[in-house]
Amino acid sequence: MKRVLVTLSVNGAQHAREVEPRLLLSDFLRRDLGLTGTHVGCEHGVCGACTIRLDGAAVRSCLIFAVQADGHAVATVEGLAPGRGQLSVLQQAFQDTHGLQCGYCTPGILMTVSAFLEENADPTEEQVRHALSGNLCRCTGYQHIVDAVLLAAKRLREAA
């Protein structure tokens, strides 16, 4: 199959790769770039585990092809922490509230929420639940995730 050159930035680093046009962005990130923090849960855009940010917007990397990301800026869970051995405010809030169990859905939830909190710095619980409603979690029952998001929002506001 004919290969196509894709040039994009991921977490601020530039990458250029030749890929099959049918290669999913999720597979490109995981296999070609080795960024396995982005998880694939359903491959049909429902579960949200593979959520990344494309030019800032939270999108499902299993629903777009790598070639569609050509020229765009991608952010993944690996880019969230300020440095190795550190956690971002959002990540720390998830640990502090026990907002994850198996952790498989967590990267997608973190990416969804990181975009959400940029749009709404002071959300209500209801707004948080709506923002999370496109991400499935089978372990937690969501309560601690909601708590984590509210705690992160509070800490981010206090630090602003």
Partner: protein
Amino acid sequence: MTARHIGRPITRNEDPRLLTGRALFVDDVERPGLLHAAFLRSPHAHATILSVDTEAAKARPGVLAVITAEDLGDYWKPGPLLVPPPPIPGMTFRQRCQVPLARDVVRHVGEPVAMVIAESRYIAEDALGDIVAEYAPLPVVGDLEAALAPASPRVHADLADNIAAEVVQRKGDYAAARARAAHIVRRRFRYDRGASIPMETRGIVADWDAKADRLTVWDTTQAPVGIRNGLAAMLGLSERQVRVIAPFIGGGFGPKMMMFYPEEVLVPWIAMRLERPVKWIEDRLEHFFATTHERGQIHEAEIALDATGKILGVRDDFLMDTGAYNPYGLTVPLNSQCTLLNCYDVPAYESRFRAIYTNRTLVTPYRGAGRQHGVFVMERLLDAAARELGLDRVEIRRLNLIPPDAFPYRNEIIYQDFAPLTYDSGNYEPILDKALEAIGYGGFAEEKAKARAEGRCLGLGIVCYVEGTGIGPYEGARVRVQASGKVTLATGIGTQGQGHFTALAQVVAEQLGVDVRDVEVTTGDTDQFDWGVGTFASRGAVVAGSASHEAAKVVRSKILKAAAVHFECAEADLVLEDGKVAIAGVPEKHIALGALAQLANPLRGAVKPGTEPGLEATSYFGPEMGATAAGAHAMVIELDPQTMRPTILRYVVVHDCGTVLNPLILAGQIQGGVAQGIGNAFFEQLAWSEEGQLMNASLADYLLPTALDVPRMELHHTVTPSPLNPLGTKGAGEGGAIPVGALFAQAIEDALDLPAKGIEIAEIPLSPSRLWEIVHGGD
């Protein structure tokens, strides 16, 4: 000694890796030269395979192998039988285990027929489309009752009928109890199939290193040691030659305990044949067909009561859908049979079940593992009985609770661990009272009337449950103090999000006086620890936790002994805390644990006869029986009679799992269990066509609860420590999920005042459309 670490809400050691995308899941494993597997699966629920033509697939560039049953030679065989049936007199058990690749007949949609190995998963799936398989469809067995008819088609043609097992168990004399009953309430209940749907599907990577003469397998299993032992036996290797790693697993919930799945048999085999590493990751569509399901029972039950509402006996006769094969034996129906008696004193019980083969995916335990079916039947019978006797639904429960002085209480029915179930300890009435208080039971009638005046339909549910947890046979743990002063703990169980890296670290830290962050826990790597059974039946914290406790205690005594020699003092004068040993009252006289570990492992000199080097110990713990947890759930819903959509206004859980190791992790387990229970009660139902096709095999159609559907819960605990293990703890993994179906049924009846209209909820799962049918008729 007061607890320093046990019982504290310590945040998790494992979280930083998971939160930064650095935790290894099976699909993250990359190896040089990695190949990818894909499976051709049966499109029919029941058919004869006429031919499988793989030539075009083999010719596709990038394809290395296409394997059918014929290619497996002697390696093709059914099984193994994972759980043999327990010794119950008079029982029937007809074993028919799954096969690696179907040879002559396919018995459920999704059964593997051929395996393709290619340079990428994309090419492997292309090649699946090249395979031409011809089938002659056979009549399909789906409905459980129709499956019993003499004229029914048979799932296994060599059996006379579709009965996979028949078991009768008795306690007391039910016929005598019935004869003297003032009231007999008889009902029929249906509890349909669901699926566990962990966010990570199954997967396996196998890497045969010919030079090292070793096979390494990464597997999404809940039982890595069992997989290691089984693979060694199947592949003709010694156990030493096989390393199975269950790394971070994205949720298990039971179906990842099943072994061996066909893919687990085939991927290591082909990796050895090709001498190339091979990966297979289940996609979500495959998961719906190829990973085991649970539930699917029909009960005909009756309860006999005296004039006051005291239970004299219960009789139950149920059918259980076991799917096309039964490698997991009778765990699910036995759990239903035992747990039906719930937290009540039932002097007489007679229960028969028949497990039925159907042309559907296999049934194995999923969180709750049949216990919710038993609890549903008993709780629904009590609700109906209360109405018949004019009793309050709470009072009939209170009247029949096992009293606190009756423990250990003999349930007598043989349980999934093959022994007659005994409830080790419990105190049930305070649980019920706490739930009533927290949900506002006393003021609810008024609240309901007030809401009704505003045109709103409120309903309250309150139900009780027990859960047999922490069963044997055993788990083990090895604890070692390293020269760095950090402590390692290795155990054979797998972990799927339960917080073992933290809860087990707390148990060890408690004994050794170190920081919980300084205890590194390894689970699920047979090179680190290769004795163990697995993570299932709410047993990880209880059984592996107790083994960790025992091993840490031995290490503690070694530390004190070595320090006493070092300081030339009595052990009783030593204090072990903050990662060092000090002489009591002389804090400047101290030695760090790491330094002591080095002293205990000298490079010169002599280790005294009869002693061992290092500060290390391995211990095993095997409980004589499981510890029985208990609880009550209560909720208030508002039901919209136009849309039949319930909104949960309040949800209360009162749970007793003995000693709590970590309340933060426990809360997560309970909330997650309730969420799955809510899904099971109101969202999730596998919809089958007459032809045995699964009609909703996607997450867009099989609805899991979202953050909008699961309410904030109010959790309360009572503590009745178990006498069966040194920690006094009981399992908590499944309790949250068990009573939710019964709770929904009762609360919905209450909200719409259905019994007054002669309507009862006798089935789970419900949905808005099904509720409409029940209330308004039609289907």
